[in-house]
């Protein structure tokens, strides 16, 4: 096991990693930017070190600053959390070159799964169905038009690098394709420094279901069930739950089984998530793999009782997984609500400011992962996630009832949050019936969604 870990992230995930380190008996150093000096992870850490100014490019995204901090504080591993440097395989490589361990897949594995298009081909070869898409990257407009005609409209334009909906557009006609492709290229270039794009057939009314896996260095892997992340706003997840209401128990078992067999065969290592789209007929298509811990990992933790962050650290340290598929028992139903500092009534505009009052809900089956405290000033520079409320129940109906009560109990004063959209979801028939698709919010618009909920 490691001696000391540098946590190269902020907010709730820095706190989550710190807690995992404590349970593993490993010292932890929180690396922070000037804007996060008063943050909870910095205050609770055994040790903290300022690595740069508020601008993430010179702090959380600066590989030299992060690695230098790890070296001068005597760490032997770096945990990147999610976002920032977590999916940068060149960062993982430089970390390794300085005799530090990147907590995640080893650089060689990251390299193998770096291109989304290449990963689809690789895992497609190991038996995962993939969405019909373009043959490789789009060379130019003519190539794009040809491929789109072959695949059939509507098509989704996707960037090879990155995630989070940037550089992504759905188009229904050749004309839309021509204009959207320019926008996507420029978005992808500025967001990821790579403007290669590919096409996929657009599945109407699809659902987003992902499978959590953990594979150790010795090729022993398990899946930890799936999560349904269909409730999204412009490709950003806002609510996740497990098990998915979209599939029968037999179909879920089949999906998870095929996912774990494919990644083990392809030589994956550490925790990871395979994302799938599920169409109306219940057919699933692999879209991409995330080689890191995910925001919504607690859903799986409360269902399995397994600490995924600790598992991630143990695997990176070279330990065997220590449990088998038979040990992974999924119990009950869990829903995670992402609490964001954004205004659902004004196009989800992100906010910042002082938390004047904060109360985290409690009770049976309730977990709140958050870095808030009364008096904390949410800085405007980073993403708007304030915390995650997870509600567990022996069945979906109980999880919903507990989630509703917990959302009522939650107090975050001083900031506008998206709590109302969650309450509206829990009053929405489509959601309550478990029939939500990824376009649930975008199709009718969040404002209409809120208004409809207010009337009921």
């Amino acid at each position: 096991m490691f001696h000391k870990i540098l946590i190269a992230n902020r907010g709730e995930i820095a706190l989550r990693i710190l807690r995992a380190c404590r349970t593993l008996g490993v010292e932890a150093v929180v690396a922070y930017s000037e804007a996060d000096r008063d943050s909870l992870p910095v205050q609770l850490a055994d040790e903290a070190i300022c690595i740069g100014p508020a601008d993430a490019r010179r702090s959380y995204l600066s590989a030299p600053a992060v690695i230098s901090a790890a070296i001068v504080t005597g760490c032997d591993a770096v945990h990147p959390g999610y976002g920032f440097l977590s999916e940068d395989e060149s960062f993982a490589e430089v970390v390794g070159a300085h005799d530090l361990t990147f907590i995640g897949p080893p650089p060689s594995v990251l390299d193998r799964f770096a291109s989304k298009e290449g990963t689809r081909r690789l895992l497609g070869g190991y038996g995962l169905p993939t969405i019909p898409g373009s043959d490789g990257m789009l060379r130019d407009d003519d190539h794009a038009l040809e491929e789109a005609a072959r695949i059939g409209y509507p098509v989704l334009i996707k960037p090879s690098a990155g995630g989070g909906g940037k550089g992504m557009r759905m188009v229904r006609t050749p004309r839309e394709l021509e204009s959207a492709i320019k926008v996507c290229r420029s978005e992808a270039r500025s967001a990821f420094g790579d403007d290669s794009l590919y096409l996929e057939r657009w599945l109407e009314d699809n659902r987003h279901v992902e499978v959590q896996v953990a594979v150790d260095r010795y090729g022993h892997g398990v899946h930890l069930g799936e999560r349904d992340c269909s409730v999204q706003r412009r490709h950003q997840k806002i609510l996740e739950e497990a098990p998915t209401p979209a599939l029968s128990p037999a179909a879920r078992a089949d999906l998870c089984d095929r996912a774990i067999r494919a990644v083990v065969a392809a030589g994956y290592e550490n925790v990871g998530t395979l994302e799938f789209l599920v169409d109306g007929a219940g057919d699933f298509y692999f879209i991409e793999i995330n080689c890191r811990i995910q925001v919504e990992h607690p859903v799986t933790e409360v269902l399995t009782g397994i600490d995924l962050v600790a598992t991630q650290i143990r695997i990176a340290a070279g330990e065997p997984l220590g449990f088998s598929q038979a040990d992974v028992q999924l119990r009950g139903h869990a829903i995670e609500f992402r609490i964001n500092a954004e205004d659902p009534e004004h196009d989800f505009r992100p906010g910042a400011g002082i938390v004047e009052a904060y109360h985290a809900p409690g009770g049976p089956g309730i977990r709140m992962d958050s870095h808030l405290y009364p008096g904390y000033e949410v800085p405007p520079y980073y993403d708007s996630l304030l915390g995650k409320l997870i509600a567990w129940g022996p069945d979906r109906a109980t999880a919903i009832v507990r989630g509703r009560a917990a959302l009522e109990e939650l107090v975050v004063d001083g900031l506008i949050t998206n709590v109302e959209i969650h309450k509206a979801l829990l009053a929405n028939e489509v959601f309550l019936d478990g029939r939500m698709t990824t376009n649930l919010l975008d199709r009718i618009g969040s404002a209409a969604f809120l208004a409809a909920a207010a009337r009921t």
Binding site: D38, G52, P53, A54, V72, G351, A352, I354
Partner: protein
């Protein structure tokens, strides 16, 4: 709770929504944001140095120039008779790094030992425009004397670090050179008590993964002492060298 603390919070809160509403980043896409960054880079590289030179020759407190949709304003600090202090803000376009930083300066929760002003003061306006940029290396304006310099955009965040000197308020007039990076500190030959230095002079370096990041004098003045021993690991913003500004020295 002390009153001033609440006042600072109230001020910060008043600012926040306004700023947010005006902030284009909140609603625009990355392409537009990239175009803005390019615009800021261009202004910072070409227009700002020219303005700094200009304000040095004029007897005015503030200079504002419009170019297209951009507005650049340069202001001398209030009550400073000694010459221009370069600024917090290269453009009036709302920036992500700017407002929160001010708020943060008032943040109540913890003392901030190394949030020290890193103003670029200069007594004789004339040589400052030439002097400060030359230490930057990146060809940028005199907004960021220090910085990792990894991507040549140090001036943006440097601007946020450039705080107007606190010396005027309380009579306490010492200045501190702080660390531009996380790494190992190596004082230079000028980091010796009694040495007279000019703003932008190299006082030492912080070694970040083998790349030295310059520690520079924030003011013209005299080195009082070195706070951190050579070879010590330091964090970003840590206080390294104590200086007595030239104006304070002359005033005695």
């Amino acid at each position: 709770m002390p009153d001033d603390r609440d006042a600072a919070r109230a001020a910060a809160r008043d600012d926040a929504p306004r700023d947010d509403a005006a902030r284009p980043d909140a609603v625009r896409d990355d392409a537009a944001r990239a175009a803005d960054h390019a615009g800021i880079d261009r202004l910072a590289a070409s227009l700002v140095p020219a303005l700094i030179a200009k304000i040095g020759t004029l007897n005015v407190g503030e200079l504002e120039v419009r170019e297209g949709e951009w507005k650049v304003r340069l202001r001398r600090p209030a009550g400073s008779g000694t010459g221009p202090t370069y600024g917090r803000r290269a453009t009036d376009r709302p920036s992500r790094t700017q407002p929160g930083h001010e708020q943060h300066g008032h943040a109540p929760a913890s003392p901030e030992p190394h949030r020290t002003p890193r103003a670029i003061h200069s007594p004789g306006g004339a040589h400052a425009p030439a002097g400060a940029p030359s230490t930057n290396g990146s060809g940028g304006p005199a907004l960021a004397p220090v910085g990792p310099g990894r991507d040549g955009d140090a001036h943006r965040s440097g601007a946020s670090g450039g705080h107007v000197a606190g010396g005027h308020a309380g009579g306490a007039s010492s200045q501190i050179a702080t660390s531009p990076a996380v790494g190992v500190f190596h004082p230079g030959p000028k980091a010796v008590g009694g040495t007279r230095v000019r703003v932008g002079d190299r006082l030492g370096a912080v070694d970040m993964l083998g790349v030295p990041q310059e520690v520079v004098a924030p003011v013209d003045g005299i080195v009082v002492g070195v706070i951190v021993e050579g070879g010590t690991a330091v964090e970003y913003g840590q206080e390294l060298i104590h200086l007595e500004p030239a104006t304070a020295v002359e005033g005695r």
